[in-house]
């Protein structure tokens, strides 16, 4: 670690210069006219309570968030200027708040690193060299093939750091990088940063942190509160100014009077236990396996009522799984757990009433505001309606949430969200509190006030507390702690006893000692860190010298990564492939325009040979099925209303006689008009059969005196001589399927990144919107092209509908069409932020137009109004023309270039709109 230099800022131009910058989210003012100069080549710490604007400041500095007021110069240029942001992006590395927020969890360590390395334009050998060097120096090398989602929290953060460092940035911005990371991993993390800085002394590092012991190591500190800068200086200067011995104390002293009020040092009164056998939580041989992986291995403990029991261990060591078994969320594979002597039962409501639970990741509702969340939880925990108001006020006050009672959690900083979760966990005064890292990301003052509450609950109300933490000062406050590693409990005793047993000075050292002893893997390989990068001369070839509008390698990088993600979710791909084949089967056979098997009944009031012969004529056709005869008009009415018959034939009394006498009797035909298309078809059939019957009778009985028509009409049904549905429907179903499925897949692929947070990579890397979207689109285009082939083969083999025209023309059009349909998905994704909304929007935008306005059933020329307009411009219309043309009409490119050109023109329009509407910065 470089020794803190003087607080003199003037040693070089500031790396960041801010003047009067403000930022608001809706009504909340996150930054209030902040002016600041950050000196270069330093490790700069940003400290302050939760929600004072630390993250906001960092997201402005990195260009992730759009500027509002003020001036911000980063690395010598204005962050308002798009040109400058594009230029400077590759020189800034940003690790956002939250474990592995910028990583892709289904991708392996290697693949994540490859993705980022490609984004920054390194060639294959350079990528290999950098990845090997970084992973070896961080100890990630043995895990190159492990999916990022399966890494422990500390490893995720190391990987995040590796990804950030892959391109030798000039400014490294870390937002609470060690929150939720165990002490050993934290120590390794900072060693890593020191090594990097030793290698690249030019690099500036800005870190926001909640750990004051970490801040102690920084060169220069910025203390923030309430959107403003309180003070800046070296740690020594700050200590001196406030006259405190530790930074934690100094920080508290820096706070305004009002916030400091009520803060006092924590004292834990000893646990007075009358009855040693009053056990609240007990576990015996608790084991949980996921496949071949044992997450929790034979863990046992007994926790007395009112005890504060701490669970320590690295991330992913099985703490959360143990908690889930205690709460009944997961059934144990082996062993048993008891709460108050009763075996844990997922269906036991009574026990759950006494339980307070806080999950590691925020799990309250972001669509409800703070007060509404508490209200909901109070009600679900059956607090009497009359007490709810006072209880909520009490909680808001206790957790210092009064000011944000009307805010929605989504816009709140991590620390405040944690406090809200805590408030929700204790609102009903539970007997047992199970808290999974409740204080991760919470500032020191709030942590202390939280512990006051814990202690009060435990000692005064005899609430049993089961807690996991990464803060050693918190672990020391526990009555007993259990140290876990790789699913096993290493030791379980009072903090003092553990320290004594290990013979170390602090609990932290004792803990690390246990971990190192348990884990045979040596942490980072020290040999690998030392050699400086041999290819420093290569630096000028860095990506920022590439033209930034569209870079093929970056595009490929996105494409490659999306492809991997698609492959990692084989269920999705199989579903989509087999789904479209299944849909084609169902719809090809199912959508039938051959109206057949229509039901009808006769009201024969003549009952002569002729009238019966007339009815027989109808029932004999393949179109109609005769139902029992009608009795009277009431019967006709009832049976038609119930849908029993679609047509009724009424033969008048004296039908036969009138016919013989040439009196032209009227035959009544009643048709159910509820379904107009069917009614029309029936009309056509009946008219045809009527004239056929007459002609037949007339030719038999010349004495009737009628002649046949003066001219004949001969109808030729072309292209589809039997007027069968199948040859007409199959070529039409293919374009419809290829519109919806690719569009939904592509749309979700983008919005998923927005919802999960990895969209930040678009904001802070040199990736342009075009590269990002087109890269993501490509795998889906390929995928759809593959399903094109499957569907065509199916059409020819299963449905026996031959392709009469030019196959190449059809393939060309379908390829263009797949690009358009995935493009429509991207377009939908650019205006939405949630997966539900985008799914809904894509459905509305594809299903309705494709099935109704594009000529599937009614030709576009017959449509009216807006539907006609949509039909004319919608790509499915053109695709249907090509598809039916090639399939049924034996056409070739020369006949079909019109619609193909229309499709080709649609491509740049749809993609261009999608790219323009997508945002490059959060706002």
């Amino acid at each position: 670690m470089t020794t803190p230099q003087t607080g003199n800022i003037q040693s070089g131009d500031p790396i960041v210069h801010a003047a009067d910058i403000s930022l608001r989210y809706g009504k909340t003012l996150a930054l209030n006219k902040v002016s600041l100069d950050i000196p270069p080549r330093r490790m700069v710490g940003l400290i302050g309570p939760d929600g004072v604007g630390k993250s906001s400041l960092l997201s402005l500095v990195t260009g992730a968030h759009a500027m509002q007021d003020g001036t911000l110069i980063v690395l010598g240029g204005d962050m308002r200027s798009k040109a400058h942001r594009t230029k400077v992006c590759p020189r800034i590395a940003y690790m956002p708040q939250g474990l592995g927020k910028n990583l892709y969890f289904t991708l392996t360590v290697e693949e994540n690193l490859q993705f980022f390395a490609r984004l920054f334009g390194h060639n294959a050998s350079e990528r290999r060299r950098r990845i090997d060097r970084l992973t070896k120096s961080t100890g990630l090398f043995p895990f190159l093939n492990r999916p990022a989602g399966k890494l422990s929290g500390g490893m995720k953060q190391k990987l995040g750091l590796c990804c950030a460092l892959i391109h030798d940035p000039d400014l490294l911005v870390l937002d609470e990088p060690t929150t939720g990371v165990d002490p050993l991993a934290r120590r390794q993390f900072w060693e890593l940063i020191d090594n990097v800085r030793a290698e690249q002394p030019q690099m500036g590092v800005v870190v926001a942190t909640a750990y004051m012991d970490e801040a102690q190591r920084f060169d220069w500190l910025i203390a923030m509160d309430d959107g403003k800068i309180l003070d800046t200086g070296t740690p020594a200067q700050l200590l001196e100014k406030t006259g405190s011995s530790t930074l934690e104390a100094a920080f508290i002293r820096l706070l305004p009077e009002a916030k400091r009020a009520g803060h006092k040092d924590i004292v834990v009164p000893p646990l007075t236990q009358e009855d040693e056998n009053d056990i609240a939580i007990e576990a015996k041989g608790l084991t949980r396996r996921f496949g071949s992986f044992t997450a929790v291995d034979n863990v046992s403990f007994r926790i007395r009522r009112g005890e504060i029991f701490g669970f320590l261990g690295s991330n992913g060591c099985g703490k959360t799984t143990t908690m889930k078994m205690l709460t009944g969320l997961l059934p144990p594979s082996d062993g048993e757990a008891w709460l108050f002597g009763k075996s844990v039962d997922a269906n036991d409501i009574k026990v759950r009433q006494q339980l307070g639970y806080m999950t590691q990741a925020f799990s309250l509702y972001t669509e409800l505001n703070v007060r509404q969340n508490l209200q909901l939880y109070a009600r679900l925990f059956r607090i009497p309606e009359s007490e709810i108001g006072t209880r909520i006020d009490e909680m808001l006050k206790r957790f210092d949430l009064t000011g944000v009672a009307g805010e929605y959690p989504g816009s709140l900083p991590l620390g405040i969200k944690q406090r809200l979760s805590l408030a929700a966990a204790v609102i009903h005064g539970p007997q047992i509190l199970i808290l999974d890292e409740p204080t991760s990301g919470v500032d020191p003052v709030a942590r202390d006030s939280f512990w006051e509450l814990i202690i009060e609950l435990s000692r005064r109300d005899k609430v049993t507390i089961f807690i996991t933490t990464h803060f050693m000062n918190e672990a020391e406050r526990c009555d007993r702690i259990s140290m876990m590693h790789a699913g096993k409990s290493l030791a379980c005793d009072t903090p003092a006893a553990l320290v004594k047993e290990r013979g170390t000075e602090t609990l932290e050292e004792a803990f690390i000692d246990y971990l190192v002893e348990a884990d045979p893997l040596p942490p980072p390989d020290p040999v690998q860190i030392a050699p400086p990068p041999p290819a420093t001369e290569e630096k000028p070839a860095k990506s920022w010298h590439f033209p930034s509008i569209f870079n093929f390698q970056r595009w490929y990088s996105c494409c490659w990564r999306e492809n991997l993600e698609l492959l990692r979710d084989p269920i999705r791909a199989t579903l989509a492939l087999f789904g479209s084949m299944l849909l084609m089967l169902v719809m090809g056979f199912g959508i039938s325009m051959d109206v057949e098997d229509l039901t009808f009944a006769v009201l024969d009031r003549d009952q002569t040979v002729l009238s019966q012969n007339y009815a027989l004529n109808i029932s004999g056709s393949r179109y109609f099925i005769e139902k029992p005869p009608l009795l009277d008009y009431d019967d006709l009415d009832l049976r038609m209303r119930s849908g029993d018959i679609s047509m009724a034939v009424e033969l008048p009394p004296g039908f036969g006689r009138m016919l013989e006498q040439g009196l032209s009797p009227d035959i009544g035909i009643w048709i159910d008009g509820a379904m107009p298309m069917r009614a029309e078809t029936i009309q056509g059939y009946v008219q045809g059969m009527h004239s056929k019957w007459l002609i037949e009778k007339v030719s038999q009985r010349t004495d009737w005196g009628g002649t046949i028509m003066p001219a004949n009409l001969e109808t030729r049904f072309r292209y589809n001589p039997d007027v069968k549905s199948l040859p007409a429907m199959v070529p039409a179903v293919i374009p419809i399927l290829l519109m919806m499925i690719p569009a939904v897949l592509a749309a979700l692929a983008v919005v998923r990144e927005k919802e999960m947070g990895s969209i930040i990579n678009l904001y802070v890397t040199p990736l342009s919107r075009a590269e990002f979207l087109l890269g993501k689109q490509m795998p889906y285009v390929l995928f759809s092209s593959f399903s094109v082939l499957l569907l065509l083969v199916m059409a020819v083999t299963v449905f026996d509908v031959p392709i009469k025209g030019s196959v190449l023309t059809l393939l060309l059009a379908l390829l263009l069409y797949c690009i358009v349909s995935t493009g429509i998905g991207l377009l939908a994704s650019s205006v939405t932020n949630s997966q539900i909304a985008v799914m809904f929007l894509t459905m509305i935008g594809t299903m309705l137009p494709a099935t109704q306005f594009c000529g599937l059933i009614n030709p576009v020329t017959t449509l009216e109004g807006v539907g006609r307009f949509i039909g004319n411009i919608y790509p499915t219309t053109h695709m249907l023309l090509v598809s039916r043309g090639v399939f049924n009409k034996a056409l070739h490119f020369a006949d079909l270039y019109g619609p193909i050109i229309s499709l080709a023109i649609t491509v740049p329009i749809v993609l261009g709109l999608g790219i323009i509407l997508q945002k490059k910065q959060a706002s």
Binding site: G328, R352, T359, F362, L368, R379, L380, R382, I571, L575, G579, L583, M587, F589, G590, I591, V595, T599, S664, D666, I667, I669, G673, A674, M675, M677, A679, E680, T681, Q687, L694, G705, G706, M709, P710, A711, N712, T715, Y719, N720, V723, A728, I741, V744, L745, L748, I836, L848, T851, Q852, I857, P859, T861, T862, L863, E864, L881, R884, K889, L891
Partner: protein, 375 residues
Amino acid sequence: MLQKIKNIFFLGLKELWGLLRDPLMMGLILYTFTVGIYIAATAAPDSISNAAIAIVDEDDSPLSRRIGDAFFPPMFLRPERISLPEVDPAMDRGDYTFVLVIPPDFQRDVLAERQPEIQVNVDATRMSQAFTGNGYIQQIVMDEMASFANSSNLTSYLPANIVIRNRFNPNLTRTWFGAVVELINNVTMLAIILTGAALIREREHGTLEHLLVMPVTPFEIMVSKVWSMGLVVMIAVAISLSFIIRGLLQVPVEGSVMLFMMGTALHLFASTSMGIFLASTARNMPQFGILLLLVLLPMQMLSGGMTPRESMPEGIQWVMQLAPTTHFVEFSQAILYRGAGLNVVWLPFLLLAVIGTVLFLISLSRFRRSVAQIS
């Protein structure tokens, strides 16, 4: 018990709050049930309309011109006169659905009672128009011929007439039908997306797991989603039915709106349960999206709303009995157009209730497991 109802109520209230907070979703819902329905209903052509037709008139006599003049909007576009060699390329391009070819010396042959032949070429890939359009052409030509024959004192009359009356929709106005079909489609789509996707979202964000640690049962969580999202769709249906379908589109409703709403409620129970069922099967949102398409598309196209069910293959008819939309379409047409009462529609009502209950129970039994297996 009381607590159960309270939990269900408050959890449902939470769903409603969440939806209110999402202006985009609210806008989309409003759009689909107003503008969307209006567009879809008015786009559907009234029976056969604006059919593209061309005539090859090789006779060019008063009679052949008379036949040509008999085709006019709205049923047919004004016929274009083309020459015989143009017929094939024009039909290949899809310029015309129908081409009439009147042979040379047509009028002379008619007067000589030689029964000449008019040829009608039909583009049979345009299924919906091919058949009915041909029927209309036959009728129009025959009418012209008949009146020509009368004026020329040719003996020609029909020994019997048929009088066709279309019940429930005398002019076969397609808007009536299109509007209700679109309403049905939207109801189903929205019900499944709202519940299913909301459930997956809760799972992906961990809120569901949190609820399961509290004194709340899966049953309560599921029922709360069913009632709240069902209510949203019910309100949308009511608005759409009264303001768009009956108001703007002037569709006359024969039967009881109350009965229809009751049926809609049953359908919503079935389709929201289906949404939950699909969500409990899918592991993530993209999978759910595909499943949704897999289920929704056949339900929309094969439920009898687009083409008559009785004409579909037996197997598909049977499978579609399992789809709630089939029954929804059935009773909607019965109630709204034919004015049917409960005595007629009790069976689809009952079947909807059964389908809903079965889906609900299956989802309930696998609820906990599906929460544990998030990927």
